[in-house]
Symmetry: C2
Subunit: 272 residues, 2 copies
């Protein structure tokens, strides 16, 4: 269970702008300490760790960050080697790249490095992740599911995530890949779990288990299933389409946010 | 304004099965009188009226329908010619093919044929339509909008439809093309309008302005905006992403339906 009150996560829906405004990456840098930031790029999710690591190293360095390194943990043994972990003990931010979220959970889950991530989080250091690095944040994560399909029980496969935020399931590349069906299917399985669909070049900045605010160019879709009246999720043959009535949905762009305790949308700031 | 109480519409989200079960086309035939059905295929939406007309003629004939003809109205003049209309006076069902819904409204809108469609509807004859032929059914229809994009004011263009059903806006190929963003944008403009997104090989059978039931292999997504709390639709620059909070969504597969008066989801029948 997560317990720290003041932790900060930056959860990015993939495809964050790396050329123009770099609004989201700038926010990561700002939260991590600005020029004093010390960012560790965790490339476990990708099969191209060197390319991806180098890309983010260059990006963050060009933004004035003094210390950026790639932490290439590609197998469970590396993840447990104390030397590797000692070297990365003093980052102000861990940034998880995209790739496959199941690589993150299966390689890092339960290792010393997993404990370190939780220590970091408790200490208020920034944990950021994009795409697969976003999905892995929650207790339970979507690892597979059909895009652009009618919601059905079988369109979704869930797995235990890294447990950095409670009570939510996160999906990314959300509107771009037509994923609302699979998020509905996830929420239908247990409506106490809040579904959060994050668009490309869009992020949520989570402040403890209390609230998040939205930044970037797309929207965040929140699926609140607490008031569901009917669902057929337990009745049907697996390929049957899902029934789900009375789901509450919020579409939140920048300047909007969400109160995770009251489960209500909030306006963070007026347009300047 | 529509007024007839007992009209029946079959509104199909495109891509209806034409090879295996033909569940939806069978329902059209059944409602139109079974073997006694007299079906007129209206090919106005498509630029390939002959091919499309022939395809549906063969399909319906193979299903035992005795009288099927293509009504090829390709311009406003044809639409007004009494001879053409007289010939089609005794169909039990008009079936509108896919194509471009703006062709239907711009070619048929306001002509004698448009009046005839309304007469048919009042008389309880079946009006069916697929894809563009689905979109055109409502008072206001979606003619253009980005698929798989975050909802934004500018992602949607609306136009006056054929007015066969009140108070709704219909979108088709719904989950298959990731269109929930544009349906949210349509509903945000006037939350009194109910958004209905119909998947491929899925249809709603509308009974008056009272209710509809779902048939087919996908789902129907109902977007009810009456309880929206915040939206930025009037505030933003056109390309800004949309904010929309507290939207109610229902996901309805076969055996489910919707009460258009109470605005509640209903179970039509239990699984047999």
């Amino acid at each position: 269970m997560t317990d720290a009150k003041d932790f900060k996560l930056v959860i990015i829906g993939g495809g964050e702008d790396k050329k123009a405004d770099k609004k989201i990456l700038k926010e990561v840098v700002k939260l991590a300490g600005g020029k004093e930031a010390r960012i560790g790029i965790v490339t476990t999710a990708t099969k191209l760790p060197e390319e991806v690591g180098q890309e983010y190293e260059k990006l963050f360095k060009d933004m004035g960050v003094s210390e950026v390194n790639t932490i290439n943990i590609g197998g469970r043994k590396t993840s447990d080697i104390h030397g590797t972990i000692d070297k990365i003990m003093d980052y102000s931010c861990l940034f998880f790249s995209g790739g496959d979220q199941l690589r993150i959970s299966s390689i890092i889950g339960g290792t010393d490095f997993h404990n370190l991530i939780h220590d970091y989080r408790r200490e208020g250091r920034i944990i950021a992740g994009t795409s697969a690095g976003a999905s892995m944040m929650s207790q339970i994560m979507i690892v597979e599911g059909d895009d652009e399909e009618a919601p059905a029980r079988c369109t979704i496969k869930l797995a235990p995530g890294m447990g950095l935020i409670d009570g939510v399931v996160i999906d990314q590349h959300f509107n771009q890949r037509g994923r609302i069906g699979r998020l509905f299917a996830a929420v239908a399985q247990n409506p106490s779990i809040l579904g959060i669909g994050i668009d490309e070049d869009t992020a949520i900045v989570v402040e403890g288990n209390e609230k998040f605010s939205v930044i970037g160019n797309g929207v965040v879709t929140v699926v609140d299933g607490r008031h569901i009246e009917y669902t057929n999720i337990t009745e049907q043959y697996p390929d049957d389409p899902l029934a789900l009535t009375n789901v509450t949905v919020h579409i939140l762009p920048e300047r909007y946010g969400y109160n995770l305790i009251d489960k209500t949308a909030i306006i963070i700031s007026e347009k300047h």
